[in-house]
Assembly symmetry: D2
Homo-oligomer: 379 residues x 4
C-alpha cells in the first residue's frame, strides 16, 4: 500500500512513546511518507505487543512490535531521527542520553548492558524531535516553576529550537533538537505573533479562551477522561494555571519585544479532535479588525498550512480534522477598540504530530508538506 | 402516574408552540406539577398529531393532541396561564391578542369565527409567560435595531416584567405578563449582577465567552443543526452580533446604574444540553477574586437554585443537566487586577422552561420550587 | 429542596459502593423519595470524600461523606435497607455478613472491632437489595462456570429473589434479599417472557442483538472506556461469551418450562445512557407479529413502567433516558415465520437503580412508583 | 499542495450532486488523485456557491464553483468520467441523457439550449459511475416494487455493472456504467458471498443487524437527522423494509446459486461515520466458525482493502474511519450450529465514494489503490 514508486533512500526513524495518540498519529502519517522507514517503536507499558493490538486502525502494515526503551538494542538501528512522544521529565532524560550530553549516565540508567552498541548507534548524527514540553521553555527558572523541578539537561534546553515551523524554519533546518510547541501555543502563536510584531494590537489584555477535544488529554487512564464523564458535558480546567500559558507568553514576548502576560482558560469539549481558540485583543490606536486581518493575510499568503479567512468567514474545527492546517479569522467586536480572533487546528496534527513531521521535513531537506497533504475529514 | 394525592384544585395551562424543545420541556415539568393541568398544546406545523408522535418520550400521559392556534376554541378552556414558546414577532402578536391590548384585531386575524368565545375565555384574568425574546428589551429602539422591525405591542413591552426570578421576584408575583430571559442572559446575569451592584468589578472590559449545547438552536431544520455538522466539531457563531448581548447589557446597566457594553461570543458545542459561560472581568481597585466569591455567596445563600462553589471548585454543565440549578465559580487570573467567573446552567431548564415554571409558581403563589426539585442527570 | 410535606417516618438506607454510576443513580432517586433517608454511603477508594467531590451533580444535598466499608460503625445506624452496588464476589461476602449467614466470619474479616455493635445494628430485620450479579443465578454450577469460582454464600443464593419487579412482585414483597437483574436481562426478559409463556414463539433460534451506552461499563478506569476510544466508534464485545446470557436463559427457561439457549451479542455505543435490544424470534405455527404484540399488550396493560407500542411505532432509547420505563415494539419480518422485537430501557434506571428502588418500594409497602415518576429527559 | 511531480495527463471528471457528503468525499479523495482533474461540480440547490462556502474543509483548493445541472455548458468540458451522486430516480434520468440512451430527450429537458455542444462533449466515450440506487437492481419488477415506480432507463439497467470491486473487477474494467453498491450491501456482501459460494453456511436464517453513523442519512434536512435527535440516542429504522435488503439478496442469490431471503434491520448510531454489521448465520453440517474464517481469509488474502481478522479479534468502526478498508471477524456462537460474523466499513469511503474511486481506477487502468492509501483516522 505504499506510495513509493521510485524507491528513494529512506531515513530510519524511531518513535519513543508510540502507544499514545501522538505516537499513533506519527505512525499514521509516517507510514505514507515516501522517505521514511519506521524501524523502532517503543512503549514501556505495552512492550511486546503488536501495533495491531494497541492501535487496530494501524493494522495491516509492516511495523515492528512495541518495545520497552530499556530493551532496545540500539546498535544496528542506525537511526536518523528520533521522535520523542514521552511524558515531560522522562523526555529530557532520554533525549540527554540520545544526544550524548552526559556521556554515559543515560546509558547507565536506561540501557546498561548495551551501552557500547548504543553509543555507536547514535553516534552524534541522530536528530531528535521532541513532542513533550521539556525543551519548549528557554528560561530554566520558569521551567522549574511550572514543571515542578529543575531541568536535567540545561545545555540542551538552550540548544533546542522551538519548533513552530512557520517562525523558526531556518533554525529548524539546522537543528539537532527541535522542541515542538504545545497544541494550544501553536494556534495562539500563529494568530498573535504577526499582530504583536506589527504592533497592531496592544500587548495588554490578551485573553485566550481555548477549547480542545479529548484527545488533547492523551490516552492515560483518568476518571475525567472516561466517555461518560466527557460526553454531554463541558469542563473548564487549569484555569489561570495551565502550563501552556508561560510557553505562549515566551514567544509572544519575543514577537513584541517586551514581556507580557496573557489570560488563558482551556476547556475540555466532548469531541475527539480539534482545538479552537477565541482570542480577545485590544487594538492599537487607529487600528481596526480589517487591519489585523490584512496583517495576517500578508504574513501567511505563502504558507501552505495557514489559511486566513475572508471577512465574516468563521473558523471551525471541522475544517481541519485530520489535516495539518491552521485556520484563522478576525472579527470586529461591538466594543470599540477591540477585536476577536479565532483560530482552529487539529490538536493531534498541526498541534502535535503533523507539525513534528513538518519539522522533520525541514530538517532533512524534504518538501515541507511531504505526507501532510491530506485534506480534512468531514463529516 | 401522577403525583397528586390530596387532589388539589389545578390551574389550567396552555402551551403555545409545544413541538419545540422548550415546549417539550414545559410539558415534561408540568406533567409532574401537582397544581397544574395542561389543557391545550398548540403547534401549527404539527397540528392534529399526538404528543406521542412528536415527542415519544412524553408517551403514556393523558394529553390533548396538538392544535393549530387558529383552530383553538378558546371558549370553555378557562385558561389560567399561557406559556408562549413561539418565535419572536409571532409571540408579540399572539400575546397582544390574549391580553386584549388591541381590542379585537388579534381575534380578527387569528381566531375570527370564535372571537366572542375567545373574549369570554380569557376574560382578563389569564397570565402569560413568554419564552420568546419579544418582551425582554424595554427600549423600543433597541428592540427594533436587533430584531429587525418595530415592536407591535409597545404598551405590553412596557408592562412586561423581566422574568429573572431571583431579581424580579416581587414584580413577577404581581405580573400579568412575564418575559423569561434568554438562556445566555440567565447565566451571565446571575453571575454578574451582584458584582456590578456591589461595584467589586469594573463595568468596562466584561467579556463573556459562552458555550451552548445544540438544543439552544431549537428543533428547526437548518443544515447547521444536523448531527453530522455539529458532532466532532465546534462552531463560534453570532460573533459580536448575537441578540442576547443587548439583553445582557440592559440588565447589567440597571444593576450598575450606568450604561455599559459587553463583549459576547457564543459557541455551539457538540452536546444536547448545557450552557457554560467563561466570563473575564476587571476587578475594582483593591478587590480580589475571593471578594467576588464572597459577594456572590452572600447574595445567593438563600436562593435554592443558585449554587456558588467554594474556591477551586469548577462549574461544569454535567452538574446541572436536567435540573433548574445554576452553578457559579470564581477564579483568580494570573494577570493582576482580573478575575474569571464561570457559570453553568441547563439551557432548557434554568435557561428556559424551568425558569418559566419557577415564575409561574411565583405568579400563582406556589412554593417556588414546585416540580423543579429533580436532581441533575449524570452521566 | 426536599419533597416531604407531611414529614412521614422514613426508612434508613445505606448504599454500599456509592461512587459508581449505579450508586449515584440510587442517590439521585432516593434523595427525592419521601420515605427514605440515606444514612450511609460507602466507597472504599474514595473514602473520606464528600459526595460533591465525587459527584458534583449531587451537590447541595445533605449527605454523609463516603466511608470505607471497614470503617463503618454499624451500631446506631439502625439500617432498614442496604443497597449493595459492589463488584460481584465482593457483594456476596458483604451481604453474607450483613444477613448473618455465617455467624461472625464476615464481621471477623470486615468490621473486626465493632462486631458487637454491628450484630446489634442489623439485628435480622435489615433487607438487602443487591445490584451485583452475585445472587441472580440459581444454579451454583452455572455461577461457578461464568463467574470464575465457587459461590461463597450458597444458602443465600437459594433464598434470594430475582428482582424482576413485574414477574416476582409477590416474592419480592416478602424477600429479605433481592437480586436485581442485569441491565441486558431486564430488557430481554420483559420482551420475551410473555411470548414464551404463551408459546407464541419458538424456544429455538432466539437472537438478541444488544446495544448499550457507555455507562453500562461503569466508572472503572479502562482504556476501552475513554472518551477517545468510545466516541465516533462502535464496539461489539463479549461475543457469545457475556455473563448476561445464562441469566437470560435461566429466566426464559422458567417461562417456557424447558431449557433453552440464546444467541446474545452486546455492542458498546457512543452515548452515555440507554440500552436497546433487537430480538429476532421464530413464530410458533400460525402466529403473527400482531399476535405477539397482543400478548405483550395484554400482559403489560396494567404495568405502569412497561409500554407496548402500537404497530409501526419504533422504540428508541431517547424515550426512556432517565426514566424507569421500558418500551417494547413488535415488527413483522420479511422472512415468513419470523418477527423482530425491539425493547429499550435506560440501563441505569429500569436496568439498574430504578428497578432496585421499585423493588424497595415493594418490600416496604410503598406505592411501587414512588420517586420513579419522572419523565424521560429529551433531548 | 498537489501530489503531482511528473505531471501525468489527467482525466477530466465531473461530480454531479457535489454538495452532499458522498460528493464531498469524492472531492476530498480526487483532489489528491494524481491522474484526475475535477472540472465540473454541480448542486442544484447550492448553484453559484463556492465549495468553500458549502464545505469549508475543502477550502484552499482550486475548484470550480457549484453549478445547476441545467446550466452546465457541456461543450468543451471533454469529460472522461462522471460521478453521479444524485438522488435515485433523478440519477437514472440524468445518466440516460449522458449515455445517449434516449437520443435527445434528456437534452431537451435538461440542457435545452446547449444540446449540440452537449452531444459533442460527451460523444460516447464518457464513463459513468453512479452512486445512487438506480442501477443496482437487475430485476425491473423488484426495482419498481421497492423504489416506487417503473425504471426509466431499462436498457441501461441491464448494461450497468454492479460495482462491488472485489467481485466484478473484470466487468468493471470494461464497463461504461458502474452502479456502486449501497453501503450496507457492501459490508454484507464482502462478509457473506464467499461463505455462500463455498456453501459453508446455510442460505436460510441469515440475519443482518446493521448499525450506521448519521452520515449514511445524507445532508438532507430532516428532523430525525438533527444533532439533538441523534445524539445520546439509538434508533432502529426501516425494520424489515429497507431498500438495501433486496440488493443484498440479489447478490447473495447469485453467489449461492439459488434464491434466498434475509432478515435486515438497520440502526442509526450517534456517530458521524462508520458502519458495522453483526451477521448471524447457520453453519452447514460439519462446519465451524474456524472454517468460515478460513474461507474468508483465503478469498481475501490478495485483496488490499479487505482485512480478515485473526480469531478473537473484533472489528470496530474506528479501524476504518476515513479509509477504504473493510474489516471482517468470525466468531463461534454458544448455540451449536451457528456463527456470528462482524464486518465494519466507513460508509462514506468503502461504502460509497472510496469504492467509486476504486472502480474508476479499474475503469481507467490505474493502480486500484490510487488515492485510497490513506490510513484510518483515530481517535
Amino acid at each position: 500500500m505504499t506510495v513509493s514508486d521510485s524507491n528513494p533512500k529512506k531515513i530510519r526513524a524511531a518513535i519513543l512513546g508510540a502507544s499514545g495518540y501522538t505516537g499513533a498519529e506519527l505512525i499514521r502519517l509516517l507510514l505514507r511518507h515516501p522517505y521514511v522507514e519506521i524501524v523502532l517503536i517503543t512503549a514501556d507499558r505495552k512492550a511486546g505487543q503488536s501495533i495491531e493490538t494497541v492501535f487496530p486502525h494501524l493494522s495491516g502494515e509492516n511495523l515492528p512490535d512495541l518495545m520497552a526503551i530499556a530493551d532496545v538494542e540500539w546498535a544496528g538501528l542506525e537511526l536518523d531521527v528520533v521522535f520523542c512522544a514521552l511524558p515531560h521529565a522522562t523526555s529530557q532524560r532520554i533525549i540527554k542520553g540520545i544526544l550524548h550530553e552526559t556521556g554515559h549516565d543515560f546509558i547507565d540508567e536506561m540501557v546498561i548492558e548495551q551501552s557500547e552498541d548504543y553509543a555507536n548507534a547514535i553516534k552524534g548524527s541522530v536528530k531528535v524531535i521532541d513532542l513533550s514540553a521539556d525543551f519548549r521553555l528557554r528560561d530554566a527558572a520558569i521551567y522549574a516553576e511550572w514543571y515542578g523541578g529543575e531541568h536535567d539537561a540545561l545545555s540542551l534546553q538552550k540548544e533546542a529550537v522551538y519548533g513552530l515551523s512557520e517562525y523558526y524554519r531556518e533554525d529548524i533546518k539546522k537543528a539537532r533538537l527541535v522542541a515542538c510547541p504545545g497544541c494550544y501555543p501553536t494556534a495562539a502563536l500563529l494568530a498573535l505573533i504577526p499582530l504583536l510584531k506589527e504592533k497592531v494590537i496592544s500587548k495588554d489584555g490578551i485573553i485566550i479562551d481555548a477549547k480542545s477535544g479529548a484527545s488533547g488529554a492523551g490516552r492515560s487512564l483518568k476518571e475525567a477522561n472516561l466517555f461518560t464523564e466527557v460526553s454531554e458535558a463541558m469542563h473548564p480546567y487549569g484555569i489561570a494555571a495551565h502550563r501552556h500559558a508561560p510557553e505562549i507568553e515566551q514567544e509572544l514576548s519575543v514577537a513584541f519585544g517586551d514581556e507580557l502576560l496573557i489570560t488563558f482558560t482551556p476547556h475540555l469539549i466532548p469531541m475527539n479532535r480539534g482545538e479552537l481558540e477565541t482570542i480577545y485583543v485590544n487594538l492599537s490606536a487607529g487600528k481596526t479588525a480589517d487591519d489585523l486581518r490584512d496583517v495576517l493575510a500578508t504574513r501567511y499568503k505563502d504558507e501552505q498550512f495557514v489559511l486566513v479567512l475572508k471577512k465574516d468567514n468563521v473558523p471551525t474545527t471541522r475544517q481541519v480534522r485530520g489535516s495539518n492546517n491552521a485556520v484563522i479569522g478576525v472579527f470586529e467586536d461591538r466594543v470599540p477598540g477591540r477585536a476577536i480572533i479565532i483560530a482552529a487546528i487539529d490538536n493531534l496534527v498541526k498541534g502535535s504530530s503533523g507539525q513534528a513531521i513538518q519539522n522533520m521535513n525541514l530538517m532533512f531537506g524534504y518538501d515541507e508538506a511531504t505526507s501532510l497533504e491530506q485534506m480534512a475529514l468531514f463529516p
